[in-house]
């Protein structure tokens, strides 16, 4: 019985793979340090992330896997759901032990699981790209908050960087308490302490741009008028925008009387 712990980073997880191979001791469980409960009847192994070991494993994988599969593995890490470390471990082990490329082997549980996790992460990424609503501040910053099901902020910044190259913007993940800020030259990841229960859909009035409320209202007017009441279909509506995403969307907020 080998109970592994690591620091919670992707690099740490790859170091863990290196250690497991070196010891020829396959993990009974893998947990992040701060969450781990030591096992009573086995060996507890605390992995310390080492750049060289990470690199060795990653280079090995690059020889075995296509870019897409490498990306899917990283997405599985961002997926953060219980058991993701074991899935990644099993996938890497299968890749190293096979002569053939294993990516299309959907009959192997870990391959199918990685594919499905990556798909979920990709879908959430796409949703965040769609549902982010920027609000303009008085000093010209476009600001949005998100709290995605999976840790997709690192994946969406490229899209926003390309699209909004001529405006300053920031996107803040209220659950994971970090954000991305673009200053017209580059994106940097920042820790920014927001009050934990700030409502994502409204900036404080004193920091809002003078036109912000007007455009939010115009957008609500537009949203209400493109609807065709004769075709009302609440089930389909909810399938496309499940309720948990409504908090981002200015068009799903109460209408203001003017």
């Amino acid at each position: 019985m080998h109970f592994y712990t690591y620091d919670g980073t992707f690099e740490g997880l790859l170091t863990l793979v290196f250690e497991a191979y070196e010891r020829k001791a396959w993990p009974t469980s893998i947990a992040q340090e701060h969450l781990a409960q030591p096992g009573m009847f086995g060996e507890n192994i605390a992995v310390v992330t080492e750049e060289q070991k990470t690199a060795r494993v990653w280079q090995g994988l690059q020889k075995k896997l296509s870019i897409n599969a490498q990306q899917a593995l990283y997405h599985t890490y961002l997926w953060e759901q219980p058991g993701f470390e074991q899935i990644i471990f099993d996938y890497i082990r299968l890749a190293f032990s096979s002569e053939q490329n294993i990516e299309g082997n959907y009959a192997a549980p870990c391959v199918l699981q990685v594919q499905q996790a990556a798909k979920q992460v990709h879908r959430e990424k796409h949703r965040m790209e769609a549902f982010v609503r920027f609000q303009k501040t008085a000093d010209g910053l476009y600001f949005a908050t998100i709290s995605p099901d999976f840790n997709v902020l690192p994946l969406i910044v490229r899209h926003f960087e390309r699209r909004y190259a001529d405006q300053r913007w920031a996107i803040y993940d209220t659950n994971r308490r970090y954000g991305a800020y673009y200053d017209l030259r580059q994106v940097s990841l920042v820790n920014l302490d927001l009050p934990p229960h700030q409502r994502p859909t409204s900036l404080a009035p004193e920091v809002k741009d003078a036109d912000e409320d007007v455009y939010q209202q115009l957008w609500q007017v537009y949203f209400d008028n493109v609807n065709i009441p004769e075709r009302r279909n609440p089930k389909l509506h909810l399938r496309h925008i499940p309720r948990r995403y409504w908090k981002y969307l200015s068009e799903k907020q109460p209408r203001q009387l003017r």
Partner: protein
């Protein structure tokens, strides 16, 4: 000072009124696509229109909101019976200025509400006068605001070739709506228009598309022309055409005019004109089946003739057209998933493109079982009547088609099947 604030308020409320009128009038055009463009943000400007489009929201009727879809004006010289904007209809009229449309587009875009602009218009004065204004909006967005988001312009029937050519320089997509699926219906419901007038710009757009592509081959810097191609819309249920005629027409349009998309819009009863059929609700299920058939033609290798023909001119409302085809063509089944060609696997009811690709990929590693298929997302409830796995089958294969149809619709026992429940729900929504 206080007067100024009031002025601003008045302007704002006028803009709100215009937007509500001109969004409402544009909503019956169902095209929403913002995909297929190649416009990159290379000038450090605003926006891009590459690859997959994004649906930023969904209306309560479940349609995607991707573009700011508005009319420039709903004043119109025509009187087409099916159209809410027709001259004789007693509705509030409004018109945006070019600058208002530009400002709305830019400000919505910067807040990540939209992928771009879809601008159409009632015909004001004449075709060229109207088209010229649409082009001016697009030109202003591209040149003054370095806007690289998606622009879809409606081509006004009868507009001059030069204007269409200019439109294609700024727009990612152009569309001409045919609306009525036959010349006869057009004569009846829109006597001031004719098919020639509609098809002419379509032909000229196609020619420009081809020419621009040729020039691009020679010179990389040659100006592009509507890189996301052209599309059109057919109204379903406002005239007497059957599904066979409609699908024949779309199939021909895909071939002759290399259209990217044909959209189908179930007719929403908006007019009591006595030239129109009396219906109380839009034909949503029929529209859905036509879209499924359209998908079969574009992605599943089906020919229009295989889906409906003169003997069976109507799509079955109760079952999807792929299942319908399979039940009429039992001789093609069962398909052995471990050995059959991809094209044949694609034709199995309950197996979509993604599952078919997974099957073909995974069977190189191991013999697939039904459990494998289930995990890959194959809908065995439908597929099991048409496939074998390692020559084994989950089901007797010698059932009559009618029995299979009943089993799929009503379930094996007394329990109502999910598919039927869904159907009934659809009826409920309509009613």
């Amino acid at each position: 000072m206080s007067l100024k604030v009031q002025d601003v308020r008045v302007m704002e409320s006028r803009l709100i009124e215009k937007l509500s009128i001109l969004a409402d009038a544009a909503k019956y055009d169902v095209s929403c696509s913002s995909s297929g463009g190649k416009r990159k943000n290379e000038n450090k400007g605003l926006g891009n229109a590459e690859g997959m489009g994004i649906c930023h929201s969904y209306t309560e009727d479940g349609r995607c909101v991707s573009l700011l879809k508005i009319l420039l004006t709903n004043h119109c010289i025509y009187d087409c019976a099916y159209c809410v904007t027709r001259r004789s209809n007693d509705v509030k009229r409004a018109a945006f200025t070019v600058q208002e449309v530009v400002d709305l587009t830019i400000n919505f875009y910067r807040r990540n509400y939209i992928e771009g602009l879809f601008l159409s218009s009632g015909i004001f004065k004449n075709a060229d006068y109207t088209m010229e204004r649409l082009v001016r909006v697009a030109k202003k967005l591209r040149q003054e605001h370095k806007f690289n988001g998606c622009i879809h312009l409606k081509t006004i029937p009868g507009a001059s070739e030069e204007l269409i050519k200019e439109a294609g320089l700024y727009a990612d997509r152009l569309s001409v709506n045919i609306e009525l699926p036959s010349e006869m219906s057009l004569q009846q419901l829109a006597p001031e228009k004719n098919y020639k007038e509609v098809l002419e710009p379509m032909g000229s757009i196609k020619q420009q598309l081809v020419q621009a592509k040729e020039e691009k081959k020679l010179f990389k810097s040659a100006p592009g022309f509507a890189p996301a191609g052209q599309s059109t819309q057919l109204i379903v249920g406002a005239s007497a055409e059957n599904d066979h005629q409609i699908l024949q027409l779309s199939s021909q349009l895909y071939k002759d005019f290399s259209l990217k998309r044909v959209y189908y819009s179930g007719y929403v009863p908006i007019s009591s004109d006595n030239r129109l059929p009396i219906i109380t609700e839009p034909p949503i299920i029929r529209e859905n089946r036509i879209y499924q058939a359209d998908w079969l033609m574009r992605f599943y290798g089906f020919d229009a003739k295989e889906i409906v023909d003169e003997q069976h001119p109507h799509l079955d409302l109760e079952i999807d057209p792929k299942l319908g085809w399979a039940l009429r063509n039992r001789h093609a089944f069962p398909v052995e998933v471990n050995t059959a060609d991809y094209e044949l696997i694609l034709r199995v009811p309950g197996i979509g493109i993604k599952s078919a690709q997974k099957i073909v990929s995974a069977r190189r590693f191991t013999q697939l079982s039904f459990e494998h298929l289930r995990q890959m997302g194959v809908v065995l409830k439908r597929a099991k009547y048409f496939i074998t796995c390692q020559t084994k089958s989950l089901q007797r294969q010698d059932f009559e088609s009618e029995l299979i149809r009943r089993k799929i619709l009503f379930g094996e026992g007394s329990v109502r099947s999910a598919l039927l429940t869904q159907q009934l729900d659809l009826f409920k929504q309509v009613g």
